[in-house]
């Protein structure tokens, strides 16, 4: 049995290598030279490593065998857009003024051209189109921090990716509107998607970004996303990732962030639904005074699996970082948290905080949490903590003694547990929306069938508790 599986795995590896050789001309159509060079090197690396497997330390608790056994389709050209596709991506968040960039099955989709320059100077659109338009930026940034030598998913993405999102915020530009990337999967057959994003924030610029991964139907998809983010001196970035895919889908998300001096980054990864999710977030604090908040919330049930691998490099002195991941796991769901903080020899006055808190609702749910601190400087403050628990039974009784049903008492406590992650969302309409989504998710009412996670088109049910922050 074991051998058969390995052969099939190799088959997928080989299939992709074959695809690369056969379709190279198509793959490199829009490339600048550097990108093609990265493709070749990444493919060479992939040939060596193949896909990761659970004998590797970093993949020990995330088993990919079944997933890689699946047969996938691969779209080398964009899907034909249907008439109502605009409607599909329309965002209905009340009072939430976003600029939407849409991706369907891995391909940029827009009526208004592939690349758009806004009046304030910001450029947003397809990475594919951006390469030739901004070769200097690509020569400087593309593939520089997304290390493909040690991770098969990053290497195969670098070799094969044809589309994704490009955002460039020039020096001094503060973008008022929230940018929203909606990546939707809508195909009846199994699909393997490589998605590649490049986000560049110039000095003292400002951007808030939402990145939504959704699926519409129940087909299996494997989405392999690599995102490189460069944050210039004094720049400010907020990224909210909303992950709401069907139970058959797998999302491998690798985000690399490089921060210059006095920059400020907040990422908030909100995992609501998906069969298997792997979030690699690697933050490099390369300029003094840089600060990163790396936050996450995962609400998993059934046999879902989420694996958060967070690495923060304190490379220079006087940087601060704050990691907080919270999860509620039901049924046979499993989660992994691996928080690695690396403090370089000269990174004095580092202040790094890391925490992972979990609630297991059933004894069958599992969490593997592993803090890992490697510190070479002597004047630093680092702390870490991890907790795994059940709902507080004393609190349950206290709430029920006031007349609240057991089910609602559970909801109240689960919501309370998630509250500090939600409170950290600074964009008010988004916070309210996510607040609603969390409540719906906890009540088991959040449907992946709602086109976009933010549509929340289903009529809202009456519920007994209504968390609100108004001044009652």
């Amino acid at each position: 049995m074991k051998n058969e599986t390995v052969i099939q795995n190799q088959a997928l590896d080989e299939l992709l290598i074959e695809l690369f050789n056969k379709e190279k001309e198509l793959l490199t159509t829009n490339d600048i030279e550097k990108v093609t060079q990265h493709r070749n090197e990444a493919m060479a690396s992939f040939k060596q490593t193949g896909f990761p497997n659970s004998s590797m330390e970093q993949w020990r608790h995330t088993d990919l065998e079944d997933l890689l056994d699946e047969q996938f389709n691969y779209q080398l050209r964009p899907s034909k857009a249907d008439g109502d596709i605009e409607e599909m991506f329309k965002c209905e968040v009340h009072n939430f003024n976003t600029e939407i960039i849409s991706m369907l099955n891995g391909w940029h989709f827009s009526k208004n051209g592939q690349l758009h320059t806004y009046p304030n100077g910001m450029v947003m659109g397809s990475i594919n189109a951006a390469m030739k338009a901004y070769p200097d930026l690509f020569n400087k940034y593309y593939g520089e921090i997304a290390d493909y030598t040690s991770n098969g998913f990053v290497s195969i993405n670098t070799a094969l990716a044809q589309d994704g999102v490009f955002i460039w915020v020039p020096d001094g530009v503060e973008v008022e509107k929230t940018m929203q990337i909606i990546k939707m999967i809508d195909l009846e057959e199994n699909l393997f998607v490589q998605s590649r994003n490049l986000i560049i924030l110039g000095e003292n610029s400002k951007l808030s970004l939402m990145h939504c991964d959704d699926s519409i139907n129940q087909a299996t998809s494997l989405i392999n996303t690599v995102t490189e983010v460069y944050v210039g001196k004094g720049a400010k970035l907020e990224v909210y990732k909303l992950q709401n895919l069907n139970d058959n889908s797998a999302l491998i998300n690798s985000t690399f962030i490089k921060q210059e001096a006095d920059s400020n980054v907040r990422t908030n990864t909100l995992t609501f639904n998906c069969g298997l999710i792997r979030n690699n977030i690697h933050v490099r604090l390369d300029g003094s005074g840089a600060h990163a908040d790396v936050l996450g919330l995962y609400l998993m049930d059934k046999e879902q699996h989420v694996d958060n691998q967070i690495r923060i490099d304190h490379n220079v002195a006087q940087c601060t970082s704050n990691e907080l991941f919270k999860g509620i796991l039901d049924d046979e769901a499993s989660a992994v948290f691996n928080g690695y903080i690396h403090v370089a020899r000269d990174a004095q006055k580092t202040n790094a905080y890391q925490n992972n808190k979990n609630i297991l609702l059933k004894p069958t749910a599992t969490i593997n949490t592993m803090p890992f601190l490697e510190i070479y400087a002597d004047d630093v403050k680092c702390s870490h903590g991890a907790t795994v628990g059940q709902l507080d039974q004393e609190a349950m009784f206290y709430i029920r003694q006031r007349g609240v049903s057991e089910a609602n008492a559970r909801l109240l406590l689960m919501y309370a547990f998630a509250a500090d992650i939600i409170e950290n969302i600074s964009i008010e309409p988004l916070r309210e929306r996510i607040d609603t989504m969390v409540k719906k998710r906890l009540r088991g009412e959040l449907s992946i069938c709602e086109k976009c996670v933010l549509h929340c088109g289903a009529p809202e049910k009456e519920y007994h508790f209504d968390i609100d922050y108004s001044k009652i």
Partner: protein, 251 residues
């Protein structure tokens, strides 16, 4: 009779704590239950309110002519039983306002009433805050989080006032309170007292009973009520301690 407990036996982890307790409480009455540490006072409160892990092995608990022993805690609460906890639980992330709105609306739903309108709730909260001398924005804080001992106890009475129970059980509400907080708690209870409700006040000391006049005082010892009397019994206990009860019982 509002509450009628007959020959109650309660075990925790197989150990019998309440051993044949009888207690009858009528509408309009205040009963004080006194006793030394470990006599079963808090176990009695837990058994009446339906806390898990407290196993009733024998006896009956009747409330409003209903056998409540199989009722879940929330149903007993909805029937009008309120417990002021000896150790109020901190619930970070749940605001007092939301907690109380949830509780009030749960109880209203049980009675077939629509949810309370926001304006009405606001008025009610302001009114009851005054009753227990809460001045700050207590209602925007998480339930009991970071509250001082006195604030927690005042918060229990505040909740009791909001929910307006038929049977209020105060489990050592006076412990750890300074005299001012004690007076506030007593004032709250005295204002709520009526012919349509009753209170069971569990206490170790008679101090609270100087401010809340009980109709009956019971002495709980070793899982049984060994002596019952009027208000004067409390003073006798204060003067003589519990030793004479023990001796009397042994004789």
């Amino acid at each position: 009779m509002l509450l009628n407990i007959k020959n109650l036996h309660v075990e925790i982890d197989g150990k019998e704590i309440i051993r044949g307790l009888n207690l009858g409480v009528n509408y309009g009455e205040v009963h004080a239950i006194m006793g030394p540490n470990g006599s079963g006072k808090s176990t009695l409160a837990a058994a009446i309110t339906g806390k898990e892990g407290y196993e009733i092995t024998k006896g009956e608990i009747w409330y409003k002519e209903k056998d409540i022993m199989e009722m879940p805690p929330e149903e007993r609460a909805n029937e009008g039983i309120f417990l002021s906890f000896q150790y109020p639980v901190e619930i970070p992330g749940v605001s007092m306002a939301n907690f109380m709105r949830t509780a009030i609306n749960s109880q209203r739903e049980f009675r077939g009433q629509p949810p309370i309108p926001a304006g009405e709730l606001l008025k009610l909260i302001e009114e009851k805050k005054r009753l227990v001398d809460i001045h700050d924005k207590l209602t925007n804080r998480s339930v009991n989080e970071g509250f001082s001992g006195g604030e927690k106890k005042k918060n229990e009475i505040f909740q009791m006032a909001l929910l307006d129970p038929t049977l209020g059980i105060l489990d050592e509400t006076d412990s750890g309170l300074d005299i001012d907080a004690l007076k506030v708690v007593a004032r709250g209870v005295n204002q709520l007292r009526s012919d349509n409700n009753a209170f069971v006040i569990i206490t170790h000391y008679q101090r609270l009973l100087e401010y809340i006049q009980p109709d009956f005082v019971h002495v709980l010892f070793d899982g049984q009520i060994v002596k019952s009397g009027g208000k004067s019994l409390a003073f006798e206990l204060e003067a003589k301690g519990y030793e004479w009860i023990k001796e009397e019982k042994l004789v």
